[in-house]
């Protein structure tokens, strides 16, 4: 274990920014599972599609209007909007048919989506990794250099977390969504159009994932196969935090992100083994997660 504060700070910031990405991805997954009981294995693949989409829009803007790092903002907005629409369409035409089916059949459908979208990515963008290079100078903190973009990510992640919390706890639609987590039957009995809520939640989840893909493009190259690794980590986060609990997902992402980046001091390469050990322990000790309620267990 190194003692100099610089390298610990670097690990802390990279862990926190990883935590933010995991949170943005998992919160959608958690919402979708909480409301609709669908385990969306294709969530990270949609995230990957959003990343490539952001990359293309950014490249297009840069070649059309000249280089400008700020073009990443419209690129993220456009990609997020497009993925929101795609998410809505997927729910409307495919996922909706699966609510009455058993879990493995849902897995089969989302796995088919993984194959289809994965191959479409290969078809459109090829197999090489993509990333956006932003001209950012690292800043010096305690004799080591930290990319200030980490701060942007952490602020963006916390912002979305806060916004999501506000949406779920302070707005009418958010309250309907939370009510649907507890009792779908009661919500529909009150005359609320559940199919619209379902499509909206699915699209919202995909949209948040798309946003995180765009935000992370400048520090993390994306490539085919990344989605397969990420999706199981997201499941770990969602389960550790507890299904349907935004606070739980947030705390679990920070635990997983920090453990991931600090495990390099203890067992390099074994980060994910440690995370799944934690997951196994949580599932044995509290299957409903740290912040979940026992109600639905």
């Amino acid at each position: 274990m190194p003692t100099d504060i610089g390298s610990i700070l670097i690990q802390l910031f990279s862990g926190l920014s990883r935590a933010m990405m995991l949170f943005l991805l998992s919160s959608g997954l958690s919402l979708i599972f909480g409301v609709m009981d669908i385990l969306n294995f294709a969530h990270a693949t949609l995230w990957l599609v959003a990343g490539y989409l952001t990359y293309t829009v950014f490249q297009f803007l840069s070649t059309t209007f000249g280089d400008n790092a700020l073009f990443i903002v419209p690129a993220i907005i456009i990609a997020t909007g497009a993925m929101f629409v795609l998410g809505w369409a997927l729910e409307r035409f495919l996922v909706r048919r699966m609510y009455q089916r058993e879990v493995p059949e849902q897995l089969l459908l989302t796995f088919a989506l993984i194959l289809i979208f994965g191959d479409l990515i290969r078809l459109i963008w090829g197999v090489q990794n993509r990333r956006i290079f932003l001209p950012i100078e690292p800043v010096e903190v305690f004799d080591s250099y930290i990319n200030p973009y980490f701060f942007v990510i952490i602020v963006a992640g916390c912002g979305v977390a806060g916004g999501l919390w506000w949406f779920l706890h302070r707005t009418r639609y958010g309250k309907i969504v939370r009510a649907a987590v507890y009792s779908r039957d009661m919500v529909s009995a009150l005359g609320i159009r559940i199919p619209t809520i379902y499509a909206g939640v699915f699209a919202l989840g995909v949209g948040i994932a798309a946003f995180s893909a765009g935000v992370f493009l400048p520090i993390m190259p994306i490539g085919l196969g990344l989605d397969m690794d990420l999706i199981v980590q997201c499941f770990a986060v969602v389960v550790i935090g507890g299904f349907g609990s935004i606070l739980g997902t947030f705390v679990a992402s920070i635990i997983v992100g920090i453990v991931y980046s600090f495990s390099i001091f203890i067992w390099p390469g074994g980060a994910l083994a440690i995370i799944f050990l934690i997951l196994v322990a949580v599932l044995i000790w509290r299957p409903w997660g740290l912040f979940g309620t026992e109600m639905r267990y």
């Binding site: 459908l109 796995f111 199919p195 379902y198 397969m228 499941f235 799944f276 997951l279 196994v280 044995i284």
Partner: protein, 352 residues
């Protein structure tokens, strides 16, 4: 159809025979004849595909012991497949280190030892998993599977890490694809016969009861957890046998064999073939593996093609291929689909 022909005295021999052996029996006979005839096809390729079908089919059938019979979903079943494969591979390497080339006794020994190892692995994992049911059972099996995957993936000194283990050359007799095929066919046939015996035993019927209603099973004096644990161990052991056959067939093993994608393959094969039938997973294996092998030959967009085929199957063939055949022929012993809950609003969503 059953009632209309039931009282008919002039039932033909074929109808009567079909009645007696059932759809699964018919499929078993057709598959058995097909597997015996495969080596007559030109070239080595069909034989190699057939070995893959047999191994993955046994793997999927062992998964169906948990899913179709016990009613729980395991997303980490590949852990035991991989455990079997790695046990054989590591023993292979140990024997090769001492004698240079592996002898027949060492070959059979390294395959046999995979059985107790995967059984013990399944016992340990199952001990924790059977305390949960439904989605939590599925997630805990997924978590154990991924845990094992990442341990194997990052433990370079022992398992070779993500490089896996190469150079698993079987003894001379089994290097020939056709000979290894007959060997695999013999092992898988014995394993499937054992599985059949297990599913027809009182224990097998207890499992079906656990699927329908665990509480009632407990009231009738069944030790629910013990029964689930036994079944988990049996399923893990058969997955281990399938895994043990994989290494010498592919000449290598890699951590992918333990990952969730590999577990997913067992789930897909079972669903494609029909989880409600004993031979369903094997039929699924024939469809999935053959598609994989031959679509790869004709188009570079095989994930897209297979994805669309799976999408069509899952949307329009619920219950698997065999249940469609079954509905056509008109027997009734397939597993009933859960009825739509009247209050559930998503049924309304479907009607739109």
């Amino acid at each position: 159809m059953l009632s209309s022909t039931g009282g008919n005295k002039k039932m033909g021999f074929i109808t009567g025979f079909y009645r007696w052996i059932g759809l699964s029996g018919t499929v078993a006979i057709i598959l058995g004849l097909g597997f015996l005839l495969v080596p007559l096809l030109p070239g080595e390729f069909p034989v190699i595909v057939a070995v893959e079908i047999l191994i993955l089919g046994l793997f999927a059938m062992s998964f169906n012991l948990i899913y179709g019979y016990m009613g729980q979903v395991s997303f980490g079943h590949a852990a035991f497949f991989g455990l079997g494969a790695y046990t054989t591979a590591l023993l292979f390497r140990a024997f090769q280190a001492t004698t240079g080339e592996i002898g027949y006794l060492d070959f059979f020994l390294s395959l046999l030892i995979a059985i107790p190892v995967s059984a013990i692995g399944a016992l340990v994992v199952g001990f924790f998993c059977v305390r949960l049911t439904g989605i939590y059972f599925a997630l805990l099996t997924l978590a154990f599977g991924e845990l094992l995957f990442y341990v194997v993936f990052s433990w370079y000194g022992f398992t070779g890490g993500d490089d896996g283990i190469q150079g698993l050359l079987p003894p001379p007799l089994f290097r020939n694809a056709v000979n290894y095929y007959y060997f695999t066919l013999a092992v898988v046939t014995v394993a499937v016969a054992l599985l059949w015996r297990i599913t027809q035993s009182p224990f097998g019927y207890s499992l079906r009861m656990l699927r329908e209603n665990q509480q009632r099973a407990a009231f009738l004096g069944i030790n629910v957890r013990m029964c689930m644990l036994m079944n988990f161990m049996i399923a893990g052991t058969f997955a281990g046998i399938a895994g043990a056959l994989w290494g010498p067939f592919q000449r290598s093993v890699s951590p992918v064999l333990l990952g969730w994608m590999e577990s997913g393959i067992a789930v897909f094969m079972t669903l494609i073939g029909g989880a409600g039938f004993f031979t369903g997973p094997m039929v699924g294996s024939v469809i999935y593996t053959a598609l994989n092998a031959y679509v790869t030959r004709f188009t570079i967009y095989w994930p897209l093609t297979i994805g669309i085929i799976i999408l069509v199957l899952v949307l329009f063939v619920p219950g698997g291929v065999l249940s469609v055949v079954d509905a056509r022929i008109g027997t009734y012993h397939h597993r009933k689909q859960p009825k739509a809950d009247l209050l559930d609003v998503s049924a309304e969503g479907r009607r739109e």
